[in-house]
Symmetry: C2
Subunit: 478 residues, 2 copies
Amino acid sequence: MAPGATLRIMSRIEAPRDDATAATGDLVGRLLGALPADAVLTDPDVTASYAHDMASFCPAGTPAVVVLPRTVEEVQHVLRVATELRVPVVPQGARTGLSGGANAHDGWIVLSLTRMDRILEISPVDRVAVVEPGVVNATLSRAVREHGLYYPPDPSSWETCTIGGNIGTASGGLCCVKYGVTAEYVLGLDVVLADGRLMSTGRRTAKGVAGYDLTRLFVGSEGSLGIVVRAVLGLRPAPPAQLVLAAEFPSARAACDAVCAIMAGGHVPSLLELMDRTTVRAVNDLARMGLPETTEALLLAAFDTPDPAADLAAVGALCEAAGATRVVPADDPAESELLLQARRLSLTALEAVKGTTMIDDVCVPRSRLADLLDGVERVAERHRLTIGVCAHAGDGNTHPTVCFDAADPDESRRARASFDEIMALGLELGGTITGEHGVGVLKKDWLARELGPVGLEMQRAVKQTFDPLGILNPGKLF
Amino acid sequence: MAPGATLRIMSRIEAPRDDATAATGDLVGRLLGALPADAVLTDPDVTASYAHDMASFCPAGTPAVVVLPRTVEEVQHVLRVATELRVPVVPQGARTGLSGGANAHDGWIVLSLTRMDRILEISPVDRVAVVEPGVVNATLSRAVREHGLYYPPDPSSWETCTIGGNIGTASGGLCCVKYGVTAEYVLGLDVVLADGRLMSTGRRTAKGVAGYDLTRLFVGSEGSLGIVVRAVLGLRPAPPAQLVLAAEFPSARAACDAVCAIMAGGHVPSLLELMDRTTVRAVNDLARMGLPETTEALLLAAFDTPDPAADLAAVGALCEAAGATRVVPADDPAESELLLQARRLSLTALEAVKGTTMIDDVCVPRSRLADLLDGVERVAERHRLTIGVCAHAGDGNTHPTVCFDAADPDESRRARASFDEIMALGLELGGTITGEHGVGVLKKDWLARELGPVGLEMQRAVKQTFDPLGILNPGKLF
């Protein structure tokens, strides 16, 4: 981002009230030049409701205007106006993000893509779907199922989050251990650039290496390089329904040993999830699921193979060899779905413990997973905090979730400190500060630490290349 | 690339002989400051042998020097010297590329990475390998097999080509229909930048979204953004040995119909390859394989599933429904391997037809595959040429291979024209000019056509960001 441009933007935002009002009036007038009135919201009570996503500790302000375009041309118009007037733009989907990446600030334009929600094509032969960014993940997943196809990425918020948001944050989910993250399903994009020009990247073919892979550059860029207005997504054939096994362990380390044995043994589970005791209890408290509260760690493994029962038996044996005290395979898909529901409730349940959470997203090589979980326990003890851990264990991707009372300043301070210490530990173990939630505002100091000075400089140079005026979601990532 | 820098470089190359000799002496002296004498080759007979890869119609010259570093520090030294003296650098692996991307010009530095050929780590738990760029694909593939692991990318040249070259060209192979291309296995990179600084990108974890995905930006960048000196590669568990089926069709269109039916039917073959009659005959002529010469198209399908015979039976039925005149499943892995060998010999066999080939690499949505093959036949008729087609049919990725006598100027002209017409047809059908071979020199005019002006401008801007002086393999891609 151009430092000069940022300074201009900031002084604009901090201008005296009268100037700001006049500027907003000008901005809204220009936007209405090519957008219908119902697509331009300015009531501060309404615009304030678009201020932030679901992350804690991330600053946000009241945007000057929320625009809800329905067409590519309308998005182009918004960007042209933003460039002319040097007003920052933050694109938003369902605002289910967990890093503040979609947060707005005073005077900004919120560009909500939720009305661009058409599924334009589903092709079983080409195994692709072409969609607008506002399509809800679950809507797409169900639509492709009707064609015998499967769109794997399944973040916890899949019933509400949008494909555009998934692309912006490169989000993951439970499926990743077998099927990978969102990035692996984005074949091509139409992107509106900072100055309003439209660029196509990638392809709708199974393969393609024509030029630099700008498609992947946009995936996970949190709206800081351009606005995705159309995506070609790769699909897979729908697999058989998965069967789930639950295994109880006397320690998190024993559960992690089982994870390593399963993966080193060449198994390909369709999910491999871990819930620690704190998480199990929180889920029981919230939803009376009847999960085993005496266990230190609950491991869920699933297979969507032709013979899932045989695969579960093999994996169950590995769990027992690693010290599992109890191994319970689900009898049928319905019982399996119940266990997955428990896992999906984890973050909501942990939020109920003390009212507020900070959800970390550290990913380590899976051989270091046990070291990470032991370390998180020490951090929790040192700071006298409850930190529940649920994890995409097969990926080494953990969500240590710090539970705290936001009204208690000291506890809040300790929560923030423990959150940071967990990231430091993740880096020390050869991991990354974010496996699937993105950097946003929450982790931008940590991004610099992970990338190092040369990496950071080149990432900033890429930002500068695509957004020389610094109007695309400035202050995120870096 | 900076136009000014290019001009400087070009005038340097074209300088009078005495100046050029003096400049080369200076360059070699500087290189020897931190490289052992056996790593700096200047004998013109030797350096000339590093001039080009395996593509036809691509200009090349005699490099001033070939350097063969063994360490990252030595590569950094080479880049520092190149930056100071403004001498272009072309990185090379085994020079098996098919687009001229590794071609050198007079006065350039050839940076051969073949001596950096260590496998640094193989981890069955983390399912990663860490390698230097000069490791040969087959060497890595065999090494990971010993750990029960699988590195899928398998270009036809896999016995000689290097991982660094595979990364530079984002190469594919027979495996892609199930396992994807090289890009999908590159998790993290160490890259020496144009000015000699070292940058790490990506991760060695299963997931990670910290910052922009610069790893993928380097994959397929043909050495034009930086020099890959170390790669973290993702691995899979070794699948069971695959079983192959051969199906004979009375027309290419019928074979393509079978491909569409197989893919729309939700099958996941581990390969799905097509050889047209010209290719079948060429392979028989070369290697007396006894393939059926009366067929218009031979389709090879394979499965590496737990029950490949059952999968082959289902696919065989779809082939028959699409009009196959004969369906022959292999009885065992050895028979399967013979069929694959026939497929792997295709390009070599077609080269023997008239002495020289131009191998195209057009990829279309697989629903348009039949239209492409019909079009190629029309192009061959119009230009009175033999064009054999072998194809990764499951990906819609075809290699129409123009056979011609390079000593015949008119035939050569027609060969080049037909090559271009096939790319035009590919674009018209919604495809790309290159599925897996890259752009290099051969297709750079066509890249501009595929990307369009905005895409091209942004790709050039990315080049400029990473290589402001234009010393990294200039004149490739754009």
